[in-house]
Every structure is written in C-alpha cells, then in structure tokens.
C-alpha cells in the first residue's frame, strides 16, 4: 500500500501526520531497552506555509549580508577539544574571511585569537592548520605573541614609540565548551551558549556526553551549492524514498518525528529497522534486516543476519549491533537503548552544526560557505566513537579532503553504504542550485511537518540577515 498523504484531511495546520503508520514514539515505546527522556518527547510547532524566497541562495549580496550579520553573531563549532589537548596546541578555524586561532592557553582554558598580526595584518598561522606554539610569531617581520595573547616581541621597538605593548594583546572572540566541542562567537553581545541553545536542547546535549567520544573519521568535500541548500538537504527524511531507495526498506521515513527548540536548535528522529510507510505490504521483516544500513558498520559487516521466529528486524538488529559493537570498540553499551543504538537522531545547532548522537549513526556535520563562491560550500562529516573503556583516548582522525569529483566511498574508513548515501544526497545539490537559478518560480514550497526544520532554519537566517552589520570590534575584543 502506498501512502497518499494528500488524501488525509487536516484537522488543523501542521497537525497532519503520515496516515496508517505508527508514530516514531509508538515504534520506540515497543523497544526492549527503553529510550531516555530526551528521545521520548515531542516539540513540533507550526510556523506558517509561505514560500521561502530563493534570492538567498543565488544573490552574492545576500551571502555578503550573511557574512556581516549572521556569521559574526552566531555560535559556531570550531574544533573538538581533543584537537588541542596540550597547552600551546592550536587549531585555526576559518569562516568566510574571518579566521581564529583556537588555542589551549591552560589545562582548562581555551581562547580564540583573531588570526592576524597587529603590525601589518599578516595571518599568524595559515588557514586550516593546526600545531603547537610557545609563541605566535609573524612570518613577515617577526612580531610575536605569547600563548596567553600578550605581546612578546616588537622587532626594533625604538621605531614604534607609539605602540603600547600592553595594549597590543591579541584580540579574542568568545569561547565556550560543550560536549567536547569548542564553540566560538565573534559577537561580544551574543547570549551565552546555554541561552542560545535554550534549556531543553541544552539538556539533550548534556545527556549525550559527547565529550566521552573521539573523532575516528573526518572527511571534507566542497559541494556545488549554496551552504543553506546543503544544510537543508539533511534536515528531513522526506527525500529518503526518492533519493535513497535502498535505505527506505529499513527506515521509517514518512513517519519520522520533527521537533524545534527555540530559535537555534531543531531535530528529527528517523527510526531504523522498520519499513517505510511508502513500502507497506511490499517487504518482509527479513528484507528489513538484510537491507539495514549502518553508518558505523565496521564492527558488524560480514555477520549473517537471521530473523528468529516472532522477533522483529529492529529487535534483532539492536541486539546484534550492541554486542558486536561493544566487542569491536571496547565499549559498554548495556544501558544504551535500542533507539539510541539504531535510530537516526539529527540535531542542528544554528547555523552550521549537525549532531547525530546515536551509536550506529554517530556523525557530526559542519557546513560553511565557500569564501570565494557563494554557490559552493565546504561540507565536513566527522564520525564519533565512544572512548574505549580502558580510558585511553585515541588521537582524532586526520581529515581526508576529497576532490570535487570523488565519491565519499573513496574516503578511507568510510562505510561504503554510508558513503553511497552521502553521494546520493550531495549529487542532488548542483541540480537544485542550478534549478533554483533557472526557475520561473522564486520560492521554495515546504511541507508543514516533514520540512519544518527547513522553515525553522530559514527563519533564523532571516532574523540575523535583518540585523545591522556587525564586524569584529578591535577595542572590545581586546578587553576580553
């Protein structure tokens, strides 16, 4: 039976749900190992049904406004704490023309310095790099700064009687830590990260304890679409039946759950190990079991998947995955629910960060505009694994930078099935970018429920772009 959503009569705007299918919460409630509270809650809100104007994806002027208004005011994932474990370790985070040296200045203190010499402006470290420094020395004339940001050297100080070295400390952006992630914000007036996330979303993130995971795979690739189109390609499961038909057999796509939290966080929960409502009557539980796709399948590939009498594919997969993943990665998952093991939890922290706190699908995504082309963006996918129970934290994976024409399957360490999914997602993007530019219609039309995260995301974009420009302030950022 194919599900025709349009046949259903809506009782109120945004209240329609996939007919004839269990809800996400009903599926999860039947699991053997029960899910925690952050899974078993709902927070949908109807936000209107107007089209989303498309000038934002194609106009260079819009991209410029985003850079001056949005990116200079929002909290952004810069790096993981494990990227800079020792004092003096640094990681250069770049966003558009802006660049920050994220540095551990003490065991429990991390700062983000604007990456420019205060003499004639040369970057103190090249973009996209990391290392360790006892001082940040400019490669042009040799002015240098201590790791704590204070000025260390002015070469030929007799020629600079007008420079007060005490006032020539490196200016800083704000830094906050959460779940092992280092966040930065260039706006001195921005809310704290906790306020920015809101209490509900913050409680979810706290519960995941992502600080106890490490980066075991990191892949980046340039995508031929505006950064917002790339973000939106990952905000719903509505596309699964058409874009990823191989996944739909084991994915509750049309009955996924969508939630929004405040202005900066939203999520979906998309259950796995269950048949897509689009395919009801066309597949058996054995089909579901055999076609189950895992993001982190390295520990369970090659295993014969057998369905015992009376057990569901979801139940069998949860048990199988729990045992084999624990063994392969030396971790304890005995208290982790079936849902957390299997399901796809996709959260976004506006504007650029996706967090997937599940175990089978343990990704982090980051999207940043290509600073030289508003019709392109930089996409990164990181896989996080629990730190082994012996407590020894592996070094974070080195990034694999794919060329434009390469498949995600070519990245060493990437699960081939998951790489194929990412290829399918990203292969749509250049067609969408070009189609929007070619279209006689100047707006995107969104579903009320399944595409609420797209609307929620774009509302925040519009909010920030409507603000006045805000460039980093030398005086105020020096006083941090």
């Amino acid at each position: 039976m194919s599900v025709e959503i349009t046949e259903r009569k809506q009782s109120a705007e945004g209240e329609a749900r996939c007919p004839g299918a269990p809800t996400t919460q009903e599926i999860i409630a039947a699991d053997r190992v029960a899910a925690p509270g952050w899974v078993r809650s709902e927070s949908y809100q109807y936000l209107g049904d107007e089209d989303i104007s498309t000038d934002r994806y194609i106009e260079p002027q819009y991209a410029r406004m985003e850079m001056e208004r949005l990116w200079t005011r929002t909290w952004q994932f810069a790096c993981r704490e494990e990227h800079i474990p020792e004092v003096g370790d640094y990681y250069v985070y770049d966003i558009g023309p802006y660049s920050l040296i994220v540095t551990r200045v003490a065991k429990n203190e991390i700062r983000a310095y604007y990456n420019a010499c205060l003499h004639r402006g040369t970057k103190l470290r090249a973009s996209g790099t990391l290392g360790n420094a006892s001082e940040f020395k400019c490669s042009f004339h040799g002015w240098s700064w201590n790791v704590d940001g204070s000025n260390r050297t002015v070469v030929c100080p007799w020629d600079f009687p007008h420079v007060d070295r005490k006032k020539f400390s490196l200016p800083q952006a704000r830094v906050e830590l959460l779940g092992g992630f280092v966040f930065i914000n260039m706006d001195p007036d921005a809310p704290t990260l906790s306020e920015y996330l809101g209490p509900a979303a913050k409680a979810h993130i706290d519960a995941w304890k992502l600080e106890d995971r490490y980066v075991y795979l990191h892949v980046s690739k340039r995508l031929p679409a505006n950064w917002k189109l790339a973000v939106e390609a990952f905000l719903e499961a509505y596309h699964v039946i058409q874009t990823h038909p191989q996944v739909a057999v084991s994915n509750g796509d049309a009955n996924s759950q969508y939630d929004i939290y405040g202005e900066h966080v939203n999520r979906f929960i998309s259950t796995l190990g269950v048949l897509s409502p689009h395919l009801y009557g066309k597949h058996t539980e054995q089909d579901i079991l055999e076609q189950f796709t895992l993001g982190d399948s390295g520990s369970v590939t090659g295993t014969k998947r057998t369905l015992d009498d009376g057990r569901t594919a979801r139940e069998v997969m949860a048990g199988m995955f729990r045992g084999m993943f624990e063994k392969a990665t030396n971790t304890d998952l005995s208290k982790v629910s079936d849902s957390e093991l299997l399901d796809c939890f996709s959260y976004t922290v506006f504007p650029s960060l996706f967090l997937f706190p599940g175990i089978s699908l343990p990704m982090v995504y980051r999207f940043r505009p290509d600073p030289k082309d508003h019709r392109a963006c930089i996409y990164e996918v990181l896989f996080l694994r629990p730190v082994p129970v012996d407590g020894k934290r592996p070094e974070p994976a080195e990034p694999v930078h794919l060329r434009d024409e390469q498949s995600f399957k070519e990245a060493e360490g990437m699960d081939p099935g998951f790489g194929a999914i990412l290829d399918q997602d990203t292969d749509n993007l250049f067609l969408q970018q070009e189609g929007i530019e070619a279209s006689a219609k100047r707006g995107l039309t969104l579903g009320n429920y399944q595409e609420i995260r797209v609307r929620h995301f774009e509302r925040s974009v519009e909010k920030y772009v409507a603000m006045p420009p805000k460039r980093p302030d030398w005086e105020r950022s020096r006083k941090r």
């Binding site: 790099t129 990391l130 420094a133 020395k137 994976a397």
Partner: protein
C-alpha cells in the same frame, strides 16, 4: 671516529661489495628504547641535523630544519604522520617530507631508518 664514519670507511669484502655499501651507510644513532611513542629527538649525523620521530605507531627520521625559515622542528607538535614547525606553523608529512600547508612550500629531507639489535639506525648520504 663515529659509527657512521666507520661504516663508510670500512673495507668491504670482495664477494659482496654493493650490498655492504648500502648496509654500511646506516649510522647507529640511538637505542630504540630511548624513543618511546610520542617522543622526538634531535641528533647530528654526518653534519646533518636529523630529527627522530616516534609517532603512535611508526619511527621516522627527517631533517630537523624547517624548509620555510630554517627554524628547528624539534619542539613542534607531532601527530599522526606529521610534524608542525613551532615558529610559523608549516607542517610536513613525516613519511615523505612533503609540505602540507603554508608558509612552507618546499619539502624537508627524509632519511631511511631501521631498527637493528634494538638500535635506531639512519642512513644519511654524506
């Protein structure tokens, strides 16, 4: 006369001159036990400044001098397969010497390394 010079100047047996010539060019520089994973040590071999690096899983011998501004690399951060210059931040691939990021463009020298009888031996052409 050090081990390296001895190896270069020692008389080769007539029956296997080529083999001995390659083998003999390795200099014995450090007990392997003195360079645990995560450690680096700067040594001088035949007048060249060489940095021995033990990453999490492999030993390397590379030039200790950054190709960008001739600073010493020995205090730089070493991670999976690379070392970063502590002064201006250039990074080099330990296996090949390739410059991974600005401000360096040129590679650094790399040297064959082996462990024999618990000793790290490095081959540096004079």
């Amino acid at each position: 006369m050090g081990a390296f010079e001895e190896a270069l100047t020692g008389n080769l047996p007539d029956h296997c001159p080529d083999h001995r010539a390659v083998e003999g060019s390795f200099a014995r520089v450090l007990p392997a036990a003195e360079l645990p994973p995560g450690a680096k040590k700067a040594v001088e071999i035949a007048g060249k400044e060489v940095l021995l690096c033990h990453t999490i899983d492999r030993l390397f011998a590379v030039s200790n001098i950054c190709s960008h501004a001739q600073e010493k690399l020995e205090c730089g951060r070493m991670s999976k397969g690379w070392i970063a210059c502590p002064v201006h931040g250039a990074r080099f691939e330990l296996a090949t010497g390739r410059a991974m990021n600005p401000p360096a463009k040129q590679p650094i020298a790399t040297y064959p390394l082996r462990v024999v009888d618990g000793w790290i031996e490095v081959q540096v052409q004079a």
